[in-house]
């Protein structure tokens, strides 16, 4: 049995930033648990540049961005274990390796979380922590999950798996490639495979707009003459042993394939870049409440989940567009974890619910819970449902009074939006803040 003040689950960008901040804040016993062989998470296979513009004010590759943190972690003597898989987290103090009969029950212990993990060196580990930060990241949605019919040959990969094969393992998983999904990884992999001598025949996107960042569309597809076929999807995969071809089809406004608008394209490889899903298996087992839209934990402004002392940040909470925001979010969680450990958090009388309304998919955090006199502002992150030009972002209170509004030329689902709530904004708010994104000139929102 080992005791720590803070245990961070996941050594990717969120976990690394959390560990460093915790050390900086003076927490004494910190432990990072990472299941892969190395720290850095998915950054290590993202060898392209574009990371760090916000956080470091310079442009870095993924491994460079990660190494800025990893080097400090090593020199500052922060304890971490790689190739270590967390099996379970419990808030029941009796749940341990020695006490075989106790299941994970709901008897909450105020001071400790119990963590069970496994690795080659230590075997099974039982760790106690005052606070836990969930930073497990996300996984890719699969071909099976979006139910693309056809055969099941070799040559169907998720874009991230292909990226690992090329950039970590050093092998090419395809020659003639079709990419389904214009998410960032899909577009980046289209370029990567082209640079390695493969032929990327097309990137298909079922929506009428690209689902990744504009800069990736320009730098990864346009610059390499890779066609982006909007409103297109794969309707069938063919090939017995290896992929032989795909049937692609144009889709109508309801995303259904249009009869006769299909085409058989020869290829040996299909990459799927059709969305990311926060990996919350451990969180669910622990009983953390999950938001149905983000697929991540429901959190307050300090990134504390529905279970006291358990915080979440990074892609396990909601899928971010930029790693820089992940690092910032991890720091928010750590500052709060420290306050939690020192019992300095003061709850408001009424929590303020943050409610996504017109053209807003979700808002993180989902509510504001604490009373903090020293705090100057609270950042809210959200995504829109569909792209719009010339919009007003409206922030309304429980009675539909306008608290504040912002103009924006363009909003896009691929881009995370941030607004800052200041002390002044809170004045009239009792228990609700609503956010809507509407086209300029259509301000029929005022209900009275």
């Amino acid at each position: 049995m080992k005791n720590y003040q803070l245990v961070i689950i996941g050594g990717g960008p969120a976990g690394l930033a959390a560990a460093l901040k915790a050390k900086e804040n003076g927490l004494k016993k910190i432990l990072v648990l990472e299941r892969d062989r190395y720290l850095g998470g998915i950054l290590q296979q993202c060898i392209h540049n574009g990371f760090g513009l916000e956080y470091f004010k310079e442009e870095l590759t993924g491994p460079e961005y990660a190494s800025r943190f990893i080097e400090k972690i090593k020199t500052q003597d922060i304890e971490y274990k790689t190739e270590t898989m967390v099996i379970g987290i419990s808030n029941n103090e009796n749940w341990s390796l020695d006490n075989k009969k106790t299941n994970k029950s709901n008897i909450e212990n105020k001071d400790f979380k119990n963590i069970i993990a496994i690795n080659r060196e230590d075997g099974l580990l039982n760790i106690k922590a005052n606070a836990v930060i969930l930073a497990m990241g996300c996984r890719e949605r699969t071909r099976e999950a979006i139910r693309i019919p056809g055969t099941r040959p070799a040559g169907v990969f998720s874009a991230g798996t292909a990226q690992r094969y090329i950039n970590i393992e050093g092998y090419m998983p395809g020659k003639d490639v079709i990419v389904l999904g214009s998410g960032d990884i899909g577009m980046i992999m289209a370029r990567r495979m082209t640079l390695e001598g493969a032929e990327v025949k097309a990137v298909l996107e079922i929506m009428p707009y690209s689902s990744g960042l504009m800069r990736n569309k320009v730098q990864c597809l346009d610059d390499f003459d890779i066609p982006l076929k909007l409103s297109h999807t794969i309707t069938e995969i063919k090939g017995k042993d290896r992929v032989e071809s795909v049937i692609i089809s144009e889709v109508d406004e309801n995303l259904n394939p249009i009869d006769g608008a299909d085409e058989d394209i020869e290829c040996d490889t299909i990459l799927f870049s059709v969305g990311l899903i926060p990996e919350n298996e451990l969180s669910r087992d622990l009983g953390v409440k999950i938001d149905k839209i983000t697929n991540g934990p429901v959190v307050d402004e300090y990134r504390m989940t529905s279970i006291k002392g358990v915080f979440a940040c990074g892609n396990v909470l909601h899928v971010h567009d930029l790693v820089d925001y992940v690092s910032t979010e991890a720091e928010i969680a750590v500052n709060a974890a420290e306050k939690y450990i020192n019992k300095e958090l003061k709850e408001r009388e009424n929590p303020i619910d943050l409610i996504p309304e017109k053209n807003v998919q979700y808002i993180v955090p989902q509510y504001i819970k604490y009373h903090d006199l020293n705090r100057k502002f609270v950042n809210l992150f959200f995504r829109v449902e569909k792209p719009l030009n010339n919009v007003n972002i409206l922030i309304l209170d429980q009675d539909n009074n306008l608290i504040n509004s912002y103009k924006k030329d363009i909003v896009h689902p691929s881009e995370m939006l941030k607004i800052v709530l200041t002390k002044k904004d809170f004045k009239k708010v009792l228990d609700k803040i609503r956010i809507s994104v509407i086209k300029e000139g259509s301000e029929s929102f005022v209900s009275n």
């Binding site: 099974l124 099976e144 393992e169 090419m172 017995k240 042993d241």
Partner: protein
């Protein structure tokens, strides 16, 4: 190669026969054209051990099903294969369908099946709270169970090998060797095999082997069935095997928990001509979903983690054909093994032995049908993290630290289990073969994270280049070249 018994086909039937015959002092060789056993109908079916009331009492398939059903507890325990006797319910929504249930009950009782009972709506809903409340009656069969059909097939083959049998993978029969109306052996892609007896258990291809003889004409019609597999979140959604009231064509689209804790729905029944076409289609998969929803209306499209199809071969007699070939001496056909073939497999193997005894007496070929002294009936239980409580993992890890390296995070499969699978009597030599033995890649990420690790372990254990590691044997390699090689050859004007 020369042996006593040549078995064509490594499905559940072929391997059950191999295992049964390996009790005797016989040299047995099993030929399988794919890179693993269980590659045909034995890997893509409902995984049900039927109670046996469905088929008319005078059919061979009914008799063998009922005979084999009680054997599964011991067989699966001996071979360390997951099996659960969870019981089945056939659901009727009206009085007409009730008639069919009554027939099934009567038919089942004629066959000696115990515990069959017609349940009322209330009794049904008590057993299955998620069942459609419009259900009126149900036929309960406590002896029905679920099994992992591919793991059973692999275990039967492993056990046969441990007892001296040989399993030749990627060995495809191309022709038979015939002399004076007798089968002497077969020609394959890897050479000729000679035997005193040839057992044709070639599944979907058994008609082609049988029809080398002019006398026996086996006529297949093929039906494809598609399935959806759900995430483990849905594992407790139903606790019995639920069937609709069957039609003339099939038992209908069922919904069942799997032995691994998933939920499975399917199959539909589409006529097909192509034995090798295992593709799924949007129309069929929708049909499966909509039909399953009639039984359990709260089913969602969400959380489907895999879809697949299997083909079953129905012989024109609509029964199993298990008999010595009339036209070709020395050949024994086991054909038309559609449902309940899995449920009947142990009894099919026993029947085959009876036929062999009789036939050998008649033909007096030189084979030794006496018991082997050292037959080993059991397989050593495999150490598996996923079915061991975590607090007992310590013992497994202490013995072999490879078990502390988790490779598949969704299903909690360790490196130790993968290495073990690669070194079993019938070795796993491809990604999918490892998957069937260990569950790597069967979870919600479908191998997104673990596939590169499994590939690396396979390459190391088999001592081959990662470029040679395949998904499922020949022609299905995952990787084409080292990075930069493709670019360099492209620059040199070559195409890899």
């Amino acid at each position: 190669m020369k042996c006593d018994i040549l078995i064509i086909g490594g499905g559940v039937v072929g391997t059950a026969i191999a295992r049964e015959l390996s009790r005797y002092n016989l040299e047995i060789v099993l030929l399988e054209k794919e890179d693993d056993v269980a590659m045909g109908s034995s890997k893509a079916n409902s995984g049900i051990v039927h109670a046996g009331y469905n088929s008319p009492a005078d059919t061979l398939k009914a008799r063998l099903n009922v005979k084999a059903n009680p054997q599964f507890d011991k067989l699966c325990a001996d071979l360390d294969v997951p099996f659960k006797r969870i019981g089945s319910l056939v659901i009727a929504f009206n009085e007409d369908e009730l008639k069919q249930l009554k027939w099934e009950k009567e038919n089942g009782e004629k066959l000696g099946i115990k515990g069959l009972k017609i349940l009322s709506r209330d009794e049904l809903l008590e057993k299955e709270p998620n069942l459609n409340p419009k259900a009126k009656y149900g036929l309960y069969a406590p002896s029905a169970g679920i099994v992992s059909s591919y793991e059973l097939t692999i275990a039967l083959a492993d056990n046969a090998v441990i007892n001296g049998g040989k399993v030749m993978l990627e060995t495809e029969v191309r022709d038979i060797i015939e002399e004076k109306g007798r089968i002497q052996g077969v020609k394959t892609n890897t050479g000729d095999f000679y035997a005193s007896y040839v057992i044709n258990a070639a599944g979907l291809f058994a008609d082609e082997i049988a029809n080398y003889s002019n006398d026996t004409k086996i006529e297949y019609s093929l039906r494809k069935g598609e399935y959806h597999l759900y995430d483990k979140n849905w594992g407790n959604f139903v606790t019995h095997i639920l069937f609709p009231t069957p039609s003339k064509v099939s038992k209908g689209i069922l919904i069942t928990p799997t032995v691994h804790g998933n939920l499975m729905i399917g199959p539909n029944a589409e006529e097909t001509k192509d034995k090798k076409d295992l593709s799924t289609s949007k129309v069929a998969l929708n049909e499966v979903f909509e039909s399953a929803k009639k039984l359990v209306p709260d089913l969602k499209r969400l959380d489907i983690i895999n879809s697949f199809s299997g083909i079953r071969a129905k012989e024109k007699s609509n029964d199993f054909i298990i008999a010595a070939s009339k036209g070709l001496e020395g050949l024994i056909n086991v054909a038309g093994i559609q449902s309940p073939g899995l449920s009947a497999a142990p009894a099919i193997a026993e029947m085959l032995l009876d036929i062999l005894h009789e036939y050998n007496h008649e033909l007096k070929r030189d084979i030794d049908l006496s018991f082997k002294k050292n037959f080993k009936e059991t397989l050593t239980p495999k150490k598996r993290l996923y079915r061991t409580d975590y607090y007992n993992w310590q013992e497994i890890i202490a013995e072999n630290p490879d078990f502390a390296e988790i490779v598949c995070r969704c299903e909690k499969v360790s490196k130790g289990e993968i290495i073990h699978a690669i070194n079993r009597p019938v070795p796993a030599t491809s990604i999918d073969a490892v998957k069937r033995r260990t569950r790597t890649g069967t979870g919600r990420c479908q191998g997104g994270f673990c596939q590169p690790r499994v590939l690396e372990i396979l390459a190391k254990e088999l001592n081959i280049s990662p470029l040679k590691v395949s998904k499922k044997g020949k022609g299905s390699c995952l990787l084409f070249a080292r990075t930069k090689e493709m670019l360099l050859s492209k620059m040199a004007g070559e195409k890899l």
